[in-house]
């Protein structure tokens, strides 16, 4: 219940924002907002011990029970990590934002979106029902969109927002499809229930497709290669947002999803390769690209991508443990997962700090371009400290928490090569190699952050403002984070025991012993192990490469700008738009004749096509009534008249010939015993002809229609095809006499309806409703004609609405 409230609280707060904003103009809105995450964090923190004891908190509220969609909140170890991150980092970010954003900004929008996001994010991690999870998932995309576009007067903000929304929502849609497959396979939307009945899901045809689709959702959200391209553009958002959404929380929703669904999919080869492979690739690609960035925030964005790849990769490696079920051997591989969770937290701390640092720099000097920065160390010593600690941790140096998790990462990559599974013993060696290379790049860009910003010469003329240290308030949050960076290094096992272990239990619910899966974290293992050597190598080679950065930087130019993923994305979009536009304009050219051609071609292709395919044609003239000679002559007259219409050059001839046809039809009504029809047809035909004549006063004369030969041929072909189709089906229909007509009933019309004219009793009684509506049709037409003529637009009569 209270867990549920923690989802609802941010939404309620968001709803109250406008009122608070209106009545407390003098106080920074952030102070009110800050209450929410702080309260939630403290409250969640009280649950830590119980969750650590393996308790879970479940509560269900019915939403759409008819379709199995209920709001089930579920707090376990995994949710706990994320909830704490969301509320904890959330508190710090809001605190930071109070100093970062001036009251001139439309804060009520900002905090409203931020609270929406917070609620949505909590919803994602606390929901058990896949559909509800999806609801909140999309809501995070939407609120992220709004936050990125916060300064929507800037074109780049809008573009970034659009890209982020497009990619993440696309992924979300794929994920939805995956969830639905899980539902169809398992019959439930509840993750717990699915996990409880794994065999059903795993044996269904939907298993692998569902897995891939869910991963698509996770990868897009967590900015995994090649979907990462939205994240650098999302840096257009205010820095607190970048720190919060695009580094600490939202992008980790994908990670959460992978962790959450590991019990379902983990252990499958596809899952292993997809998650760890994509993670590894992302790790490398992000770090490699971070080095070339000039904008500090862009650098951090690529760094985030890289780090997310690292975590993802670890989850992939950890899933191998599930392949063969629980055993002492398989437990070893769970350590990768443990490392993932550990790094997840570490990353939030140092990356949050770094983002805030960049925000401070940006805020105080007005630029984030490292080519314009430099020498700020003496002017901004506190900020410098943050940068050094954060970067060092990110680079994987002791005595910071990043060192610990990075070591564990190396361990995991090395371990995995020993596994005799998924052909890992051959190509598995790529894992440690790529991980190591990526770490070198990571090291380099960490050095860049510190050196280029704080060392070297200061260039005051290239800065927007004279640099000075940030106000105290802005430093609080990063310092708290930095404290964690250091604190976790010192007391990693507290975290391991209370936070990480319970989460391990959630990821490996079928593994009985949590203790086995909780390794002892230590900075020094008492001997020099390969991981340590790798780290040393990273530092040495990193420093070397940084020194000669200018020499090898041109390799980034080797990939022409038009070949980057971003360019590819843009090109797909623009050429997609271009092609779509051209295709659409080509066939939707406004020319009615073309439309008719499409319709007729479809008509013929479908009906004649199926007639032939199904061999439905049959013809039996033996049951036909006799043909009298005069009927034959009349048929001949009609055909002549009809054909003559085509060649008629004067409109009056056309109309008169149509009249001939109409009169002939009337005569057929006579011959075929339909007196009422004959009467009506005669009058209607005459009136129609009269109407033609009347309107000819306003219509132009017929022109000779020049037609190219091919077009004329096409017209003739289509016309004959349509006529032939109608005839073919008609003949077959005539030969179909399985049923008695219902009209026998009407032959008792005198007794039933008191009339001797059967047709008239049908019209006036049996089917009087048709007649009534037909009268209405006639009336509408009459009134419509009156309106068209009498109430027409006058020249210069400007319409309110027309443009």
């Amino acid at each position: 219940m209270i867990v549920t409230l923690s989802i609802v609280l941010p939404f309620i707060a968001a709803a109250l924002i406008p009122f608070i904003y209106r009545y407390f103009k003098n106080i920074h809105l952030g102070w009110f907002v800050l209450v929410v995450p702080v309260v939630l964090f403290s409250f969640l923190a009280t649950y830590i011990p119980r969750v650590a004891n393996g308790e879970v908190f479940v509560k269900t509220f019915e939403w759409i029970p008819s379709f199995g969609i209920n709001i089930t909140t579920y707090l376990d170890g995994l949710s706990m990590i994320f909830s704490l991150l969301i509320t904890g980092v959330g508190s710090l970010v809001i605190l930071y934002s109070i100093f970062y954003l001036s009251t001139k900004e439309s804060l009520h929008h900002f905090y409203c979106y931020l609270l929406l996001f917070m609620g949505a994010m909590l919803g994602v991690v606390l929901s058990d029902n896949l559909m509800v999870l999806y609801v909140f998932w999309e809501l995070t995309s939407v609120s992220s969109f709004l936050l990125i576009a916060f300064w929507h007067h800037r074109k780049a903000s809008r573009a970034g927002a659009r890209k982020a929304m497009t990619i993440t929502v696309s992924g979300g849609v794929a994920m939805l499809a995956g969830f639905l497959m899980l539902y169809v396979a398992s019959g439930t939307f509840s993750i717990r229930e699915i996990v409880a009945n794994l065999e059903v899901v795993q044996s269904s045809v939907y298993f692998v497709p569902a897995m891939c689709l869910v991963l698509l959702g996770a990868f897009t959200k967590s900015a995994q290669f090649p979907f990462h391209i939205w994240l650098p553009d999302a840096m257009e958002a205010p820095t607190p947002v970048s720190a919060y959404l695009h580094s600490a929380t939202m992008v980790k929703a994908g990670i959460y999803l992978v962790a959450r669904t590991t019990p379902i999919f983990g252990g499958h080869e596809v899952w292993f390769w997809a998650v760890s492979g994509v993670g590894l690739l992302t790790l490398f690609w992000g770090s490699f690209n971070a080095v070339k960035q000039f904008d500090l925030k862009a650098l951090l964005a690529y760094s985030t991508i890289s780090q997310l790849g690292l975590i993802m990769c670890l989850f992939g490696l950890g899933s191998a443990a599930l392949h063969s079920g629980y055993s002492t051997e398989s437990v070893i591989y769970t350590q990768a997962t443990f490392a993932a969770l550990f790094h997840l937290i570490n990353h939030s701390t140092f990356k949050g700090a770094l983002f805030m640092m960049v925000g401070i720099v940006d805020h105080e000097v007005g630029t984030r371009d490292i080519r314009r920065l430099g020498g700020l160390m003496s002017l901004m010593p506190f900020t410098f400290t943050i940068a050094v600690i954060g970067s060092a941790s990110m680079a994987g140096l002791p005595p910071f928490n990043g060192f610990l998790s990075k070591e564990m990462f190396f361990t995991a990559t090395l371990k995995i090569t020993e596994l005799d599974l998924f052909s890992l013993n051959s190509i598995g060696v790529l894992f440690p190699i790529i991980a190591w290379v990526a770490s070198i790049f990571t090291f380099i860009y960490c050095v860049i952050i510190v050196m280029r910003t704080f060392f070297g010469k200061i260039q005051p003329d290239r800065l927007e403002k004279p640099p000075h240290e940030a106000p105290f308030g802005m430093l609080i949050s990063p310092y708290i984070l930095v404290a964690f960076v250091v604190g976790i290094f010192i007391f990693p096992n507290v975290l391991g025991h209370y936070i990480l272990s319970p989460a391990m239990a959630s990821i490996y619910p079928m593994f009985p012993s949590v203790e086995d899966m909780t390794p002892h974290i230590a900075a020094w293992h008492g001997h020099i192990n390969p991981e340590l050597i790798m780290t040393a190598g990273v530092i040495i080679i990193g420093v070397l490469l940084y020194r000669v950065l200018k020499k090898w930087r041109p390799i980034y130019q080797l990939i022409p700008p038009s070949f980057t993923l971003n360019a590819l994305y843009e090109r797909v979009i623009t050429s997609g738009e271009d092609v779509s536009g051209r295709v659409t304009n080509r066939y939707m050219n406004g020319n009615l004749t073309y439309y008719f051609v499409y319709i007729y071609v479809f008509f013929v292709a479908l009906l004649a096509g199926y007639m032939i395919y199904a061999d439905a044609f049959s013809w039996d003239p033996s049951k036909d009534s006799v043909i009298e000679p005069y009927e034959l002559v009349l048929v001949f007259v009609m055909i002549m008249a009809a054909v003559a219409i085509i060649f008629a050059k004067q409109r009056i001839t056309v109309v008169l010939l149509n009249g001939v046809l109409g009169y002939s039809v009337a005569f057929f009504f006579v011959v075929f015993r339909a007196p009422d029809l004959a009467l009506t047809q005669l009058v209607v035909e005459s009136v129609t002809t009269a109407l033609f004549l009347l309107s000819f006063k306003y219509l132009p004369k017929l022109k000779n229609e020049y037609l190219p030969k091919s077009w004329r041929f096409a017209k003739v072909t289509i016309s004959i095809a349509v006529g032939a189709t109608v005839t073919l089906i008609g003949l077959a229909v005539m030969n179909y006499d399985r049923f008695e007509p219902i009209s026998k009933y009407f032959e008792d019309s005198y007794n039933l309806a008191g009339g001797q004219n059967i047709v008239n009793t049908i019209l006036g009684d049996f089917r009087a409703f048709d007649t009534m509506l037909e009268v209405v049709v006639l009336f509408i037409a009459g009134l419509g004609i009156y309106t068209l003529i009498k109430l027409k637009a006058k020249k210069g009569d400007a319409d309110v609405e027309s443009k």
Binding site: E138, V142, L176, Y595, M611, R767, L773, I780, E801
Partner: protein, 494 residues
């Protein structure tokens, strides 16, 4: 005997006719027409309740037993659509009050709208295939007039195309009816279903059903949507919204009835063809929406996309998909009406139609902008708004039948929907403002009211989806079990 069933058709007709005598009293016309629509909506609610307690209701006109007479049949599916149509119409009327202008109002605007809705409601309710044709014609005639109302140059140009295509479509309908009567010798839909079942839907009957597919495909904009973009962009906004909400829905309704009730026995042929058509429709709609630069173009192609989307459900044909289709139909009527009202208002206040020529509207019209945003999210299917549950259920159906291509197209289309609407939102609502606060043209109150009402419905339908679930499930059950319908018509003696 349930005379109440005929009220959604007859009341609008009678009030429309009466309004012809009151042409100069515009205020009275407004009030009467609005009250009529509210009344019809109330009647639909009552009917919906009645159906839950008494099962499918029918009204045999003049008391002639089916299959001989004409009858109206009210099941959850049809009445839900009637209800939504009435609500949408009422809202569009409210919008029209403040925007359409006296000149249009004196052109019998309200009577024509009422005739339109009468035709629409009749099409939903009728249980007789020929009467369906007649109801279509009532609706079409009214739409012919409404599209040309005002007689602008472009309007007339597009309306003649619209009318001509529909005349050909109506002709095809009659051809289909001729084939139908030539083979099955009956017109009552339940009786048709019964006879088709009796004959085992042999190839010729399938041909007949395909003829109907062409006809209703044309009306629904299923693949044969060529009439739609032009004709949806020229009439006054309120009319555009009505068209977008109602016209294609009637065709879709007829398709559901044709292939779920009357000719359901050759799904591997008919439903496959529908699936291909729906897929192609989605693709074409997406291309149009993707490339669109004119707000109206984007909106109309969005209509086409949703047609394909909903008919994926028909192609899939499972009970889940039916439920999804019903939800989505209701959602789409509300959502598309709102989309067109909003877009029309954008054009009204800026005088521009191209996305990039409008900027920063949200600064001047914040509420307007946010409603657009909500509408956009709803049309994309972002939960918990109205498009969500329908999308989920249709997707579920597609998965159950392993129709992955359709699933991909349907779900993929929502990305294009989002992209295209996002284009409008980002370019026109966000960005710098080009209009001064002083020069701004106020959005009429009535227009705002109509947006808010629709937005509330859209949110309500999403959040409160459970509220409709009983009816939707009933509708889906009836759709996927034709015998329920047939029994209610032919095997009971009331």
């Amino acid at each position: 005997m349930n005379n109440i069933i005929v009220l959604p058709l007859i009341v609008p007709i009678i009030t429309a006719t009466l309004l012809v005598f009151l042409n100069n009293n515009i205020k009275l016309q407004r009030i009467v027409s609005l009250i009529t629509m509210i009344f019809v909506a109330c009647i639909s609610v009552v009917l919906l309740q009645l159906i839950q307690t008494e099962g499918i209701l029918r009204l045999d006109f003049s008391g002639w037993m089916p299959p001989f007479g004409i009858l109206f049949v009210a099941d959850s599916f049809s009445v839900l659509l009637v209800l939504t149509a009435s609500i949408v119409t009422a809202v569009c009327l409210i919008y029209a009050f403040s925007t359409i202008g006296e000149r249009h109002e004196k052109m019998y605007f309200y009577p024509f709208v009422l005739f339109l809705i009468a035709g629409v409601n009749g099409s939903f309710l009728t249980g007789d295939i020929f009467n369906l044709f007649v109801c279509f014609e009532v609706m079409l005639l009214a739409s012919y007039v409404l599209i040309a109302l005002g007689g602008g140059k472009m309007q007339l140009r597009e309306s003649i195309k619209y009318v001509l295509i529909n005349v050909v479509a109506s002709w095809m309908f009659l051809v289909a009816l001729a084939y139908l009567y030539g083979t099955l010798k009956t017109l009552n839909m339940a009786h048709i279903a019964q006879r088709v079942a009796e004959a085992g839907q042999d190839p010729l009957l399938t041909v007949v059903s395909l003829t109907f597919l062409v006809v209703f495909g044309l009306k629904a904009g299923l693949l044969l949507f060529f009439w739609l973009p032009g004709s949806y962009s020229v009439p006054p906004t309120a009319v555009q919204a009505l068209f977008a909400a109602l016209l294609t829905k009637v065709g879709m309704y007829a398709l559901f009835r044709t292939f779920m009730l009357m000719f359901p026995l050759q799904p591997e042929i008919t439903h496959t063809i529908i699936g291909v058509m729906a897929g192609a429709t989605i693709i074409a709609g997406c291309m149009g929406a993707f490339a669109g630069r004119d707000v109206r173009t984007i909106a109309t192609y969005n209509v086409i996309i949703s047609v394909g989307f909903i008919l994926v459900a028909l192609a899939v044909g499972t009970e889940d998909a039916m439920a999804g289709a019903v939800y989505y139909l209701v959602h789409d009527m509300l959502g598309k009406a709102l989309l067109f009202l909003l877009i029309g208002t954008m054009i009204l206040v800026t005088g521009e139609v191209v996305v990039k020529n409008m900027n920063g509207l949200i600064r001047i019209y914040p509420l307007f902008g946010w409603i657009f945003f909500i509408m956009m999210c709803a049309l994309v299917g972002i939960p918990p708004l109205s498009g969500f549950i329908g999308k989920v259920l249709i997707g579920q159906g597609a998965i159950e039948t392993e129709s992955y291509v359709l699933l991909a197209l349907a779900f993929g289309s929502s990305i294009i929907v989002m992209y295209s609407l996002l284009r409008i939102f980002l370019a026109s609502f966000f960005g710098e403002t080009s209009i001064n606060e002083e020069d701004k043209m106020p959005i009429p109150r009535g227009a705002m009211a109509s947006f808010i009402i629709l937005a509330i419905f859209i949110i309500g339908l999403g959040v409160g989806a459970e509220g409709l679930a009983v009816y939707v499930n009933d509708a889906a059950y009836t759709l996927s079990n034709p015998s329920v319908y047939i029994d209610a018509i032919l095997n009971t003696n009331k």
